[in-house]
Symmetry: C2
Subunit: 201 residues, 2 copies
Amino acid sequence: MSIRSKSHDRDKALARARDLFWKQGFHATSLKDIEAALHMHPGSIYAAFGNKETLFRMALERYAEEVAESRQKILDAAPDALEGLARFVETAHPVTRDDLPQPACFLAKTGMDTGLTQPALRAAISALLDRTEAAFAQTYRQAQAEGALPANADPDNLARRLHATLTGIGVYALRPERREQARLMARDLADEIRALRHLAS
Amino acid sequence: MSIRSKSHDRDKALARARDLFWKQGFHATSLKDIEAALHMHPGSIYAAFGNKETLFRMALERYAEEVAESRQKILDAAPDALEGLARFVETAHPVTRDDLPQPACFLAKTGMDTGLTQPALRAAISALLDRTEAAFAQTYRQAQAEGALPANADPDNLARRLHATLTGIGVYALRPERREQARLMARDLADEIRALRHLAS
DNA sequence: AGCTTTTTTGAGCGATCACTCAAGCGTGAG
DNA sequence: CTCACGCTTGAGTGATCGCTCAAAAAAGCT
Protein backbone atom coordinates (compact mmCIF):
# COMPACT_ATOMS: atom_id res chain seq x y z
CA MET A 1 0.00 0.00 0.00
CA SER A 2 2.78 2.40 0.87
CA ILE A 3 4.67 1.63 -2.30
CA ARG A 4 1.54 1.96 -4.35
CA SER A 5 0.59 5.31 -2.86
CA LYS A 6 4.14 6.51 -3.23
CA SER A 7 4.40 5.74 -6.91
CA HIS A 8 0.96 7.25 -7.27
CA ASP A 9 2.19 10.46 -5.68
CA ARG A 10 5.18 10.49 -7.92
CA ASP A 11 2.92 9.99 -10.89
CA LYS A 12 0.71 12.86 -9.90
CA ALA A 13 3.73 15.09 -9.34
CA LEU A 14 5.07 14.24 -12.76
CA ALA A 15 1.73 15.04 -14.36
CA ARG A 16 1.73 18.41 -12.62
CA ALA A 17 5.26 19.09 -13.77
CA ARG A 18 4.28 18.15 -17.30
CA ASP A 19 1.39 20.62 -17.27
CA LEU A 20 3.48 23.40 -15.80
CA PHE A 21 6.35 22.97 -18.24
CA TRP A 22 3.94 22.57 -21.13
CA LYS A 23 2.31 25.84 -20.25
CA GLN A 24 5.36 27.92 -19.39
CA GLY A 25 8.29 26.29 -21.14
CA PHE A 26 11.60 25.27 -19.63
CA HIS A 27 13.32 28.59 -19.14
CA ALA A 28 10.30 30.51 -17.91
CA THR A 29 9.58 27.95 -15.20
CA SER A 30 11.53 28.41 -11.99
CA LEU A 31 12.04 25.92 -9.20
CA LYS A 32 9.79 28.03 -7.02
CA ASP A 33 7.03 27.49 -9.56
CA ILE A 34 7.74 23.78 -9.54
CA GLU A 35 7.74 23.59 -5.74
CA ALA A 36 4.35 25.27 -5.64
CA ALA A 37 2.86 23.12 -8.40
CA LEU A 38 4.13 19.79 -7.05
CA HIS A 39 3.56 20.67 -3.38
CA MET A 40 7.11 19.58 -2.74
CA HIS A 41 10.18 21.17 -1.20
CA PRO A 42 13.39 21.54 -3.15
CA GLY A 43 15.18 18.69 -1.41
CA SER A 44 12.39 16.23 -2.20
CA ILE A 45 12.25 17.33 -5.79
CA TYR A 46 15.95 16.71 -6.23
CA ALA A 47 15.77 13.40 -4.40
CA ALA A 48 12.92 12.26 -6.62
CA PHE A 49 13.87 13.66 -10.02
CA GLY A 50 17.55 14.63 -9.99
CA ASN A 51 17.43 18.14 -11.33
CA LYS A 52 15.31 20.53 -13.32
CA GLU A 53 16.43 19.29 -16.70
CA THR A 54 15.89 15.63 -15.79
CA LEU A 55 12.44 16.42 -14.44
CA PHE A 56 11.67 18.22 -17.66
CA ARG A 57 12.84 15.27 -19.72
CA MET A 58 10.70 12.90 -17.66
CA ALA A 59 7.71 15.16 -18.19
CA LEU A 60 8.39 15.19 -21.93
CA GLU A 61 8.66 11.43 -22.07
CA ARG A 62 5.50 10.97 -20.09
CA TYR A 63 3.70 13.31 -22.44
CA ALA A 64 4.96 11.49 -25.52
CA GLU A 65 3.96 8.17 -24.03
CA GLU A 66 0.42 9.34 -23.32
CA VAL A 67 0.02 10.82 -26.77
CA ALA A 68 1.28 7.61 -28.36
CA GLU A 69 -1.15 5.55 -26.28
CA SER A 70 -4.07 7.76 -27.15
CA ARG A 71 -3.11 7.64 -30.82
CA GLN A 72 -2.89 3.88 -30.83
CA LYS A 73 -6.27 3.58 -29.15
CA ILE A 74 -7.88 5.80 -31.79
CA LEU A 75 -6.22 3.93 -34.64
CA ASP A 76 -7.30 0.57 -33.22
CA ALA A 77 -10.89 1.70 -32.82
CA ALA A 78 -11.18 3.11 -36.34
CA PRO A 79 -12.57 1.02 -39.22
CA ASP A 80 -9.37 1.51 -41.19
CA ALA A 81 -6.00 3.23 -41.05
CA LEU A 82 -6.87 6.34 -43.04
CA GLU A 83 -10.02 7.03 -41.05
CA GLY A 84 -8.01 6.45 -37.88
CA LEU A 85 -5.55 9.15 -38.84
CA ALA A 86 -8.36 11.56 -39.63
CA ARG A 87 -9.96 10.88 -36.26
CA PHE A 88 -6.66 11.37 -34.49
CA VAL A 89 -6.31 14.80 -36.05
CA GLU A 90 -9.90 15.67 -35.20
CA THR A 91 -10.00 14.51 -31.62
CA ALA A 92 -6.52 14.09 -30.20
CA HIS A 93 -4.62 17.11 -31.40
CA PRO A 94 -4.21 19.59 -28.53
CA VAL A 95 -5.95 22.28 -30.53
CA THR A 96 -9.19 20.32 -30.56
CA ARG A 97 -9.29 19.85 -26.80
CA ASP A 98 -10.01 22.24 -23.97
CA ASP A 99 -8.60 20.21 -21.10
CA LEU A 100 -4.93 20.70 -21.90
CA PRO A 101 -2.51 23.36 -20.71
CA GLN A 102 -1.76 24.53 -24.24
CA PRO A 103 -3.24 23.99 -27.71
CA ALA A 104 0.15 23.10 -29.21
CA CYS A 105 2.19 19.93 -28.93
CA PHE A 106 4.42 20.02 -25.87
CA LEU A 107 7.31 18.57 -27.81
CA ALA A 108 7.15 21.04 -30.66
CA LYS A 109 6.59 23.99 -28.37
CA THR A 110 9.58 23.37 -26.16
CA GLY A 111 11.79 22.04 -28.89
CA MET A 112 12.10 25.61 -30.03
CA ASP A 113 13.46 27.31 -26.95
CA THR A 114 15.65 24.61 -25.46
CA GLY A 115 17.68 23.53 -28.45
CA LEU A 116 20.79 25.56 -27.97
CA THR A 117 20.96 25.77 -24.21
CA GLN A 118 20.11 22.15 -23.40
CA PRO A 119 21.52 19.86 -26.08
CA ALA A 120 20.48 16.74 -24.18
CA LEU A 121 16.88 17.90 -24.21
CA ARG A 122 17.05 18.68 -27.89
CA ALA A 123 18.15 15.14 -28.65
CA ALA A 124 15.39 13.66 -26.49
CA ILE A 125 12.75 15.81 -28.15
CA SER A 126 14.00 14.98 -31.60
CA ALA A 127 13.82 11.27 -30.87
CA LEU A 128 10.26 11.56 -29.57
CA LEU A 129 9.19 13.58 -32.60
CA ASP A 130 10.72 10.97 -34.88
CA ARG A 131 8.65 8.34 -33.17
CA THR A 132 5.45 10.25 -33.86
CA GLU A 133 6.35 10.71 -37.48
CA ALA A 134 7.27 7.05 -37.84
CA ALA A 135 3.85 6.11 -36.45
CA PHE A 136 2.19 8.33 -39.05
CA ALA A 137 4.26 6.77 -41.83
CA GLN A 138 3.43 3.30 -40.58
CA THR A 139 -0.27 4.13 -40.60
CA TYR A 140 -0.07 5.49 -44.13
CA ARG A 141 1.68 2.30 -45.15
CA GLN A 142 -1.12 0.30 -43.63
CA ALA A 143 -3.64 2.42 -45.52
CA GLN A 144 -1.71 1.57 -48.64
CA ALA A 145 -1.91 -2.13 -47.82
CA GLU A 146 -5.64 -1.71 -47.30
CA GLY A 147 -5.93 -0.26 -50.79
CA ALA A 148 -7.00 3.17 -49.56
CA LEU A 149 -3.90 4.83 -50.99
CA PRO A 150 -2.32 4.34 -54.40
CA ALA A 151 0.78 2.18 -54.45
CA ASN A 152 2.94 5.03 -55.72
CA ALA A 153 2.10 7.34 -52.81
CA ASP A 154 5.04 8.06 -50.52
CA PRO A 155 4.04 7.27 -46.92
CA ASP A 156 7.14 8.94 -45.49
CA ASN A 157 6.46 12.11 -47.37
CA LEU A 158 2.81 12.10 -46.35
CA ALA A 159 3.80 11.55 -42.73
CA ARG A 160 6.27 14.43 -42.86
CA ARG A 161 3.68 16.73 -44.34
CA LEU A 162 1.09 15.72 -41.78
CA HIS A 163 3.51 16.20 -38.93
CA ALA A 164 4.63 19.63 -40.09
CA THR A 165 1.08 20.77 -40.74
CA LEU A 166 -0.14 19.63 -37.33
CA THR A 167 2.74 21.48 -35.75
CA GLY A 168 1.95 24.63 -37.69
CA ILE A 169 -1.68 24.49 -36.64
CA GLY A 170 -0.59 24.11 -33.03
CA VAL A 171 1.67 27.14 -33.19
CA TYR A 172 -1.13 29.06 -34.82
CA ALA A 173 -3.46 28.12 -31.98
CA LEU A 174 -1.09 29.55 -29.37
CA ARG A 175 -2.66 32.91 -30.13
CA PRO A 176 -5.91 32.67 -28.18
CA GLU A 177 -7.74 34.91 -30.63
CA ARG A 178 -6.86 32.48 -33.44
CA ARG A 179 -7.65 29.28 -31.69
CA GLU A 180 -11.06 28.79 -33.27
CA GLN A 181 -9.59 29.13 -36.74
CA ALA A 182 -6.90 26.66 -35.82
CA ARG A 183 -9.66 24.23 -34.87
CA LEU A 184 -11.21 24.68 -38.29
CA MET A 185 -7.88 24.03 -39.95
CA ALA A 186 -7.55 20.79 -37.99
CA ARG A 187 -11.00 19.74 -39.14
CA ASP A 188 -10.14 20.59 -42.75
CA LEU A 189 -6.94 18.63 -42.46
CA ALA A 190 -8.84 15.58 -41.22
CA ASP A 191 -11.14 15.83 -44.23
CA GLU A 192 -8.17 16.10 -46.54
CA ILE A 193 -6.79 12.90 -45.11
CA ARG A 194 -10.12 11.21 -45.78
CA ALA A 195 -10.11 12.64 -49.30
CA LEU A 196 -6.85 10.84 -50.04
CA ARG A 197 -8.90 7.68 -50.34
CA HIS A 198 -10.61 8.81 -53.51
CA LEU A 199 -7.27 9.13 -55.22
CA ALA A 200 -6.73 5.40 -54.91
CA SER A 201 -8.88 4.34 -57.82
CA MET B 1 28.62 62.84 -40.09
CA SER B 2 28.51 62.08 -36.41
CA ILE B 3 24.74 61.66 -36.46
CA ARG B 4 24.90 59.42 -39.49
CA SER B 5 27.57 57.15 -38.05
CA LYS B 6 25.68 57.03 -34.79
CA SER B 7 22.43 55.89 -36.31
CA HIS B 8 24.44 53.46 -38.37
CA ASP B 9 25.98 52.02 -35.23
CA ARG B 10 22.57 51.72 -33.67
CA ASP B 11 21.32 49.96 -36.76
CA LYS B 12 24.14 47.48 -36.69
CA ALA B 13 23.62 46.87 -32.98
CA LEU B 14 19.94 46.21 -33.56
CA ALA B 15 20.73 43.76 -36.34
CA ARG B 16 23.07 41.92 -34.02
CA ALA B 17 20.47 41.84 -31.28
CA ARG B 18 17.96 40.50 -33.79
CA ASP B 19 20.26 37.66 -34.78
CA LEU B 20 21.11 36.80 -31.19
CA PHE B 21 17.50 36.75 -30.00
CA TRP B 22 16.44 34.88 -33.10
CA LYS B 23 18.96 32.19 -32.39
CA GLN B 24 18.59 31.88 -28.63
CA GLY B 25 15.15 33.18 -27.77
CA PHE B 26 14.25 35.75 -25.16
CA HIS B 27 14.70 33.84 -21.93
CA ALA B 28 17.84 32.01 -22.92
CA THR B 29 19.63 35.24 -23.86
CA SER B 30 21.26 37.06 -20.97
CA LEU B 31 22.45 40.64 -20.89
CA LYS B 32 26.01 39.35 -20.84
CA ASP B 33 25.31 37.67 -24.17
CA ILE B 34 23.86 40.91 -25.50
CA GLU B 35 26.81 42.96 -24.27
CA ALA B 36 29.18 40.63 -26.08
CA ALA B 37 27.18 40.55 -29.31
CA LEU B 38 26.58 44.31 -29.51
CA HIS B 39 30.05 45.29 -28.28
CA MET B 40 28.35 47.56 -25.77
CA HIS B 41 28.39 47.94 -22.01
CA PRO B 42 25.24 47.63 -19.96
CA GLY B 43 24.87 51.36 -19.39
CA SER B 44 24.99 52.12 -23.10
CA ILE B 45 22.52 49.37 -23.90
CA TYR B 46 20.02 50.74 -21.44
CA ALA B 47 20.60 54.30 -22.63
CA ALA B 48 20.01 53.27 -26.23
CA PHE B 49 17.22 50.72 -25.95
CA GLY B 50 15.54 51.03 -22.56
CA ASN B 51 15.57 47.47 -21.33
CA LYS B 52 15.84 43.90 -22.48
CA GLU B 53 12.20 43.54 -23.40
CA THR B 54 12.13 46.77 -25.39
CA LEU B 55 15.28 45.80 -27.23
CA PHE B 56 13.71 42.48 -28.04
CA ARG B 57 10.57 44.16 -29.33
CA MET B 58 12.65 46.48 -31.51
CA ALA B 59 14.52 43.47 -32.90
CA LEU B 60 11.21 41.76 -33.64
CA GLU B 61 9.84 44.79 -35.42
CA ARG B 62 12.95 45.23 -37.44
CA TYR B 63 12.80 41.60 -38.47
CA ALA B 64 9.15 41.87 -39.50
CA GLU B 65 9.89 45.00 -41.47
CA GLU B 66 12.72 43.35 -43.39
CA VAL B 67 10.67 40.27 -44.15
CA ALA B 68 7.78 42.42 -45.37
CA GLU B 69 10.12 44.40 -47.61
CA SER B 70 11.68 41.30 -49.05
CA ARG B 71 8.26 39.79 -49.63
CA GLN B 72 7.00 42.89 -51.41
CA LYS B 73 10.07 42.96 -53.62
CA ILE B 74 9.54 39.36 -54.66
CA LEU B 75 5.85 39.89 -55.31
CA ASP B 76 6.53 42.99 -57.38
CA ALA B 77 9.14 41.22 -59.49
CA ALA B 78 6.96 38.19 -60.22
CA PRO B 79 4.84 37.99 -63.38
CA ASP B 80 1.68 37.54 -61.32
CA ALA B 81 0.48 37.23 -57.73
CA LEU B 82 0.33 33.44 -57.51
CA GLU B 83 3.80 32.98 -58.95
CA GLY B 84 5.01 35.67 -56.56
CA LEU B 85 3.74 33.73 -53.58
CA ALA B 86 5.36 30.57 -54.84
CA ARG B 87 8.67 32.35 -55.27
CA PHE B 88 8.40 33.84 -51.81
CA VAL B 89 8.02 30.39 -50.32
CA GLU B 90 10.88 29.05 -52.40
CA THR B 91 13.41 31.79 -51.83
CA ALA B 92 12.51 33.88 -48.80
CA HIS B 93 11.43 31.39 -46.19
CA PRO B 94 14.19 31.02 -43.59
CA VAL B 95 14.38 27.31 -44.28
CA THR B 96 15.51 27.91 -47.83
CA ARG B 97 18.37 30.18 -46.84
CA ASP B 98 21.69 29.51 -45.19
CA ASP B 99 22.57 33.03 -44.14
CA LEU B 100 20.10 33.32 -41.29
CA PRO B 101 20.52 32.51 -37.60
CA GLN B 102 17.68 30.00 -37.66
CA PRO B 103 15.62 28.21 -40.30
CA ALA B 104 12.34 29.18 -38.61
CA CYS B 105 10.51 32.48 -38.53
CA PHE B 106 11.72 34.65 -35.67
CA LEU B 107 8.18 35.70 -34.81
CA ALA B 108 6.78 32.18 -34.68
CA LYS B 109 9.76 30.82 -32.81
CA THR B 110 9.69 33.34 -30.00
CA GLY B 111 5.95 33.68 -29.87
CA MET B 112 5.97 30.30 -28.19
CA ASP B 113 8.12 30.93 -25.18
CA THR B 114 7.29 34.52 -24.32
CA GLY B 115 3.51 34.44 -24.30
CA LEU B 116 2.81 33.99 -20.64
CA THR B 117 5.74 35.82 -19.12
CA GLN B 118 5.76 38.88 -21.38
CA PRO B 119 2.21 39.78 -22.39
CA ALA B 120 3.33 42.95 -24.13
CA LEU B 121 5.62 40.93 -26.37
CA ARG B 122 2.88 38.45 -27.13
CA ALA B 123 0.63 41.24 -28.35
CA ALA B 124 3.37 42.71 -30.52
CA ILE B 125 4.16 39.35 -32.07
CA SER B 126 0.52 38.62 -32.72
CA ALA B 127 0.07 41.92 -34.52
CA LEU B 128 3.11 41.31 -36.70
CA LEU B 129 1.94 37.80 -37.57
CA ASP B 130 -1.45 39.19 -38.50
CA ARG B 131 0.23 41.56 -40.89
CA THR B 132 1.99 38.71 -42.66
CA GLU B 133 -1.19 36.75 -42.97
CA ALA B 134 -3.07 39.77 -44.26
CA ALA B 135 -0.41 40.23 -46.93
CA PHE B 136 -0.86 36.61 -48.01
CA ALA B 137 -4.63 37.07 -48.16
CA GLN B 138 -4.25 40.25 -50.16
CA THR B 139 -2.00 38.45 -52.63
CA TYR B 140 -4.47 35.61 -53.02
CA ARG B 141 -7.19 38.17 -53.64
CA GLN B 142 -5.07 39.73 -56.33
CA ALA B 143 -4.55 36.29 -57.87
CA GLN B 144 -8.29 35.96 -57.86
CA ALA B 145 -8.65 39.29 -59.64
CA GLU B 146 -6.10 38.11 -62.17
CA GLY B 147 -8.24 35.06 -62.86
CA ALA B 148 -5.67 32.63 -61.52
CA LEU B 149 -7.96 31.49 -58.73
CA PRO B 150 -11.65 30.60 -58.95
CA ALA B 151 -14.03 33.23 -57.63
CA ASN B 152 -15.34 30.91 -54.91
CA ALA B 153 -11.90 30.32 -53.40
CA ASP B 154 -11.49 31.80 -49.92
CA PRO B 155 -8.36 33.97 -49.85
CA ASP B 156 -8.44 34.30 -46.06
CA ASN B 157 -8.58 30.57 -45.62
CA LEU B 158 -5.80 30.03 -48.14
CA ALA B 159 -3.68 32.63 -46.37
CA ARG B 160 -4.27 30.99 -43.01
CA ARG B 161 -3.31 27.59 -44.38
CA LEU B 162 -0.22 28.95 -46.03
CA HIS B 163 0.85 30.75 -42.89
CA ALA B 164 0.34 27.71 -40.66
CA THR B 165 2.10 25.40 -43.09
CA LEU B 166 5.09 27.71 -43.45
CA THR B 167 5.32 27.87 -39.68
CA GLY B 168 5.17 24.12 -39.37
CA ILE B 169 7.92 23.68 -41.92
CA GLY B 170 10.04 26.16 -40.00
CA VAL B 171 9.60 24.31 -36.73
CA TYR B 172 10.42 21.11 -38.52
CA ALA B 173 13.62 22.62 -39.83
CA LEU B 174 14.81 23.52 -36.35
CA ARG B 175 16.07 19.96 -36.12
CA PRO B 176 19.28 20.16 -38.10
CA GLU B 177 19.03 16.56 -39.24
CA ARG B 178 15.63 17.32 -40.78
CA ARG B 179 16.48 20.56 -42.44
CA GLU B 180 16.93 19.13 -45.91
CA GLN B 181 13.52 17.52 -45.79
CA ALA B 182 12.04 20.79 -44.62
CA ARG B 183 13.55 22.40 -47.70
CA LEU B 184 11.86 19.82 -49.87
CA MET B 185 8.55 20.50 -48.18
CA ALA B 186 8.95 24.20 -48.90
CA ARG B 187 9.61 23.41 -52.53
CA ASP B 188 6.57 21.15 -52.69
CA LEU B 189 4.48 23.83 -51.08
CA ALA B 190 5.56 26.35 -53.71
CA ASP B 191 4.54 23.94 -56.43
CA GLU B 192 1.19 23.41 -54.78
CA ILE B 193 0.60 27.14 -54.84
CA ARG B 194 1.39 27.16 -58.53
CA ALA B 195 -0.94 24.22 -59.04
CA LEU B 196 -3.83 26.24 -57.66
CA ARG B 197 -3.89 28.01 -61.00
CA HIS B 198 -5.07 24.96 -62.85
CA LEU B 199 -8.17 24.82 -60.70
CA ALA B 200 -9.31 28.16 -62.03
CA SER B 201 -10.71 26.90 -65.29
C1' DA C 1 8.20 0.62 23.70
C1' DG C 2 13.14 1.91 21.72
C1' DC C 3 16.21 2.04 17.97
C1' DT C 4 17.37 2.43 12.96
C1' DT C 5 16.52 3.91 8.57
C1' DT C 6 14.33 6.78 5.28
C1' DT C 7 12.20 10.89 3.90
C1' DT C 8 11.09 15.64 4.36
C1' DT C 9 12.31 20.07 5.41
C1' DG C 10 13.71 24.93 4.40
C1' DA C 11 17.47 28.08 5.43
C1' DG C 12 20.92 29.29 2.80
C1' DC C 13 24.78 28.37 -0.79
C1' DG C 14 27.42 30.57 -4.80
C1' DA C 15 26.22 32.06 -9.29
C1' DT C 16 23.84 34.71 -12.21
C1' DC C 17 19.94 37.57 -13.32
C1' DA C 18 18.35 42.35 -15.18
C1' DC C 19 19.65 46.71 -14.23
C1' DT C 20 21.87 51.33 -12.06
C1' DC C 21 24.80 55.21 -11.39
C1' DA C 22 28.88 57.71 -9.85
C1' DA C 23 33.09 58.35 -11.90
C1' DG C 24 35.94 58.73 -16.14
C1' DC C 25 36.44 60.19 -20.73
C1' DG C 26 36.16 62.63 -25.26
C1' DT C 27 34.60 66.47 -27.61
C1' DG C 28 33.59 71.17 -28.91
C1' DA C 29 32.85 76.02 -27.51
C1' DG C 30 35.03 79.99 -25.73
C1' DC D 1 44.33 75.74 -23.02
C1' DT D 2 40.23 75.40 -20.04
C1' DC D 3 36.13 74.06 -18.84
C1' DA D 4 31.41 72.21 -19.27
C1' DC D 5 28.68 68.84 -21.04
C1' DG D 6 27.12 64.36 -22.84
C1' DC D 7 28.35 59.72 -23.61
C1' DT D 8 30.69 55.59 -22.08
C1' DT D 9 32.14 52.73 -18.52
C1' DG D 10 32.00 48.61 -15.42
C1' DA D 11 31.83 47.65 -10.58
C1' DG D 12 28.12 46.93 -7.92
C1' DT D 13 22.78 46.72 -6.65
C1' DG D 14 19.12 43.61 -4.69
C1' DA D 15 16.63 39.83 -6.43
C1' DT D 16 16.31 35.47 -8.00
C1' DC D 17 18.37 31.49 -10.10
C1' DG D 18 19.19 26.17 -9.55
C1' DC D 19 20.58 23.48 -6.01
C1' DT D 20 22.57 21.43 -1.25
C1' DC D 21 22.63 19.40 3.20
C1' DA D 22 22.39 19.16 8.24
C1' DA D 23 18.77 18.68 11.14
C1' DA D 24 14.05 17.26 12.15
C1' DA D 25 10.25 14.28 11.37
C1' DA D 26 8.25 9.97 9.90
C1' DA D 27 8.30 5.24 9.00
C1' DG D 28 9.89 0.65 9.68
C1' DC D 29 11.62 -3.06 12.57
C1' DT D 30 12.02 -5.98 16.69
